[in-house]
């Protein structure tokens, strides 16, 4: 049993940390691409050079800690799915993954339907859609490829809680290519869940560290807040839950290529754990800060919104818990 990073991954981590201190905003994507970080998210078969659970977990944890807001997860999912379906993967560009629908928690096919080779309906909260070279779309049971300029496709963009831009997709008899049944893409989707979870873990550790710093520095009644036992014990409980979250990410990361049923159990457990801890940390870190924790100009605000995003993306803790409890696979 070995939970250490390999030498390669340690180098990747160092490189990534360097990039994240030097680049933000527009410049980050090209810098990550140039350093091979994006290629590290894909396997050799998919046109990358790693794509292991350990690599995905490591990369998104660092991005989460740094608060980076990039459509890298949909790009990874779509890239892996396209490669698996034997399609060419557009290089060096954003790809989108349209999954959520209005009017439902996480059902698919409520607001959208397939009719032969075309799709009609709506998808929502599609990160990166406005810049994407290809858009993957889920329906009740299948995965589809839609070209950005396809007839009948309308995009309505808006800012999202994690700092990215997203869009509503409105499709009216839009031509689409069916890539296969959704259940055929368990591995790319599992990698997406791992990425969201690791990103959440990075955000969680950043929020807890920020909160601890605040508790140590901020004085009330002449004492640092951490010296108030009720607050100190709550901080301790957070620390315990961070380790649970870390282990859940390790479990999914270590079972990404396991049999579907075992992989899906760890996927569901991971999403449940990260969702639960993300909610707890969002609530407790604001509460332990007090008013300052609610202000936009303090770093916690963005973390809280990213934590809510992490819980919600690709099915929240409730949804995955329900399927785990029923012994159902992760995807219909």
């Amino acid at each position: 049993m070995d939970f250490q990073l390999s030498d390669d991954h340690r180098m990747l981590q160092d490189s990534l940390r360097g990039i994240l201190t030097r680049h933000t905003g527009e410049g980050l994507w090209p810098a990550l691409a140039e350093a091979g970080v994006i290629a590290a998210l894909l396997t050799e078969d998919e046109g990358g050079f790693d794509g292991s659970g350990a690599a995905v977990a490591l990369i998104f944890q660092e991005l989460g800690r740094a608060g980076a807001a990039l459509p890298l997860i949909p790009t990874m999912i779509a890239g892996a799915a396209l490669a698996q379906a034997g399609h060419e993967v557009p290089e060096g560009t954003v790809l989108a993954f349209a999954d959520a629908e209005p009017g439902t928690r996480y059902d698919r096919g409520v607001a959208i339907r397939a009719d032969g080779d075309s799709l009609t309906g709506r998808k929502t909260m599609v990160a990166g859609a406005e810049d994407a070279a290809a858009i993957l779309v889920t329906t009740a049971d299948a995965l589809w490829l839609v070209q950005p300029g396809a007839p009948g496709l309308t995009l309505r963009g808006y800012p999202m809680m994690d700092g990215q831009r997203g869009a509503d997709l409105i499709l009216e008899a839009t031509p689409a290519t069916r890539l296969g049944a959704l259940s055929d893409f368990g591995r790319p989707l599992a990698r997406g869940v791992l990425a969201h979870s690791a990103h959440a873990l990075g955000t969680i550790t950043a929020a807890v560290d920020l909160t601890l710093d605040y508790l140590k520095q901020r004085k009330q009644f002449g004492q640092p807040l951490i010296s108030f036992q009720a607050l100190a014990h709550r901080a301790a409980d957070l620390a315990v839950e961070v380790e649970q979250a870390r282990s859940a990410v390790v479990n999914l990361s270590g079972h990404l290529t396991a049999d579907a049923s075992l992989r899906d159990r760890h996927l569901q457990a991971c999403k449940v754990t990260l969702g639960r801890v993300a909610r707890l940390v969002a609530e407790e870190s604001v509460q332990l800060h007090g008013g300052i924790g609610m202000t936009e100009e303090y770093a916690l605000a963005g973390m809280v919104r990213r934590l809510m995003t992490a819980d919600t993306a690709m099915g929240d803790a409730d949804w995955h818990l329900d399927r785990f409890a029923r012994g159902e696979p992760a995807w219909a």
């Binding site: 959520a100 996480y106 059902d107 604001v286 008013g291 936009e296 100009e297």
Partner: protein
Amino acid sequence: MDMRFTPDELAFRDQVRAFLQTELDPELARKVRLHQHLTKDDMEGWHAKLHARGWLAGNWPTEFGGAGWTAIQRHIFEEESALAHAPRIVPFGIAMLGPVLQKFGSREQQDHWLPRILNGDDWWCQGYSEPGAGSDLAGLRCRAERQGDHYVVNGQKTWTTLGQYANMIFCLVRTSTEGKKQEGISFLLIDMTTPGVTVRPIVLLDGTAEVNEVFFDDVRVPAENLVGEENQGWTYAKYLLTHERTNIAGVGFATAALDNLHRVARAQIHRGRPLAEDPVFASEIAAVEIELMAMSTTNLRMLSAAAQGQAPGIESSMLKIKGTQIRQRLDALTRRAYGGHALALPATGNEGQPQDADEVLAATATWLNNRKLSIYGGSNEIQRGIIAGALAKG
């Protein structure tokens, strides 16, 4: 024991409902329900309608132009208003300063300021918290020095809600550094148009700017604007904080939030059926609903005891804790009911919004904004300390 309202109370409730039915603009109610930005005009307009009906100051005695309602009447008014999505009465003049002036102000202060609160001539805001004095309110440092017939004020206040609309602010200021920190505090009324007053908005994590920092730089305040005695302000501040809290439980707001949650759960689809039929989600809603049923009665029990003259004790602390827990749980469930749709950022001007998403944006904004419930007005940790202190003595 009798849990029913009296016939008089029922008649009063009917009057309130009729008033809300006829006077509350549906468009305004919609904005309140969807947690959208209310303009100053929206709020002043509502105040004016209430003032015309004699209901703006339900908590004030009739001698000062108030409605002189019982605690139960105030509860009925607040609950019905919340259920109808009426704007909340801005509390700073009516609920906070008014009672302090009535109890500790001079006759001149009462005659001058109280009518101006009712008729909307002044918009008051509150200058209590400071950057270094939050839960430890008595640690405040904003100082006022007496120079002749003026005080000269220097320092900073923060978390000043709706301060951007206010022309007046009541402040706790330090007039002495001798003795215990509670002993050198005075209660001062400051005209915000005086030179040296600067207001800077604080944007919160839901994108709204409802609170502010207020800076004082050699601000000259007439000495007649001191309320009560110099260095006795802590007494007045505590009076303000422990009284006028009939609505601390927020039963009406919670009931409105529960109604909304039921509506959302019936509309959202889960596993091909309404989410309301999902046993797990339904039991989470039921658990909060049951908490609210109990808290609603706790609230009435405590109002009833207060009406019979029992001194307010730790009840308001208990209601604050349970009331905020219930509302935050309702907010979380509502957000979760929207699932993958709840990721757009509310209150972002003209950078775009998803289609037909007012409701889901309201859910997100409410979750974000209502984190404040357990922080402001004495955080829940402060309230637990108050309860524990009483238990330790009792």
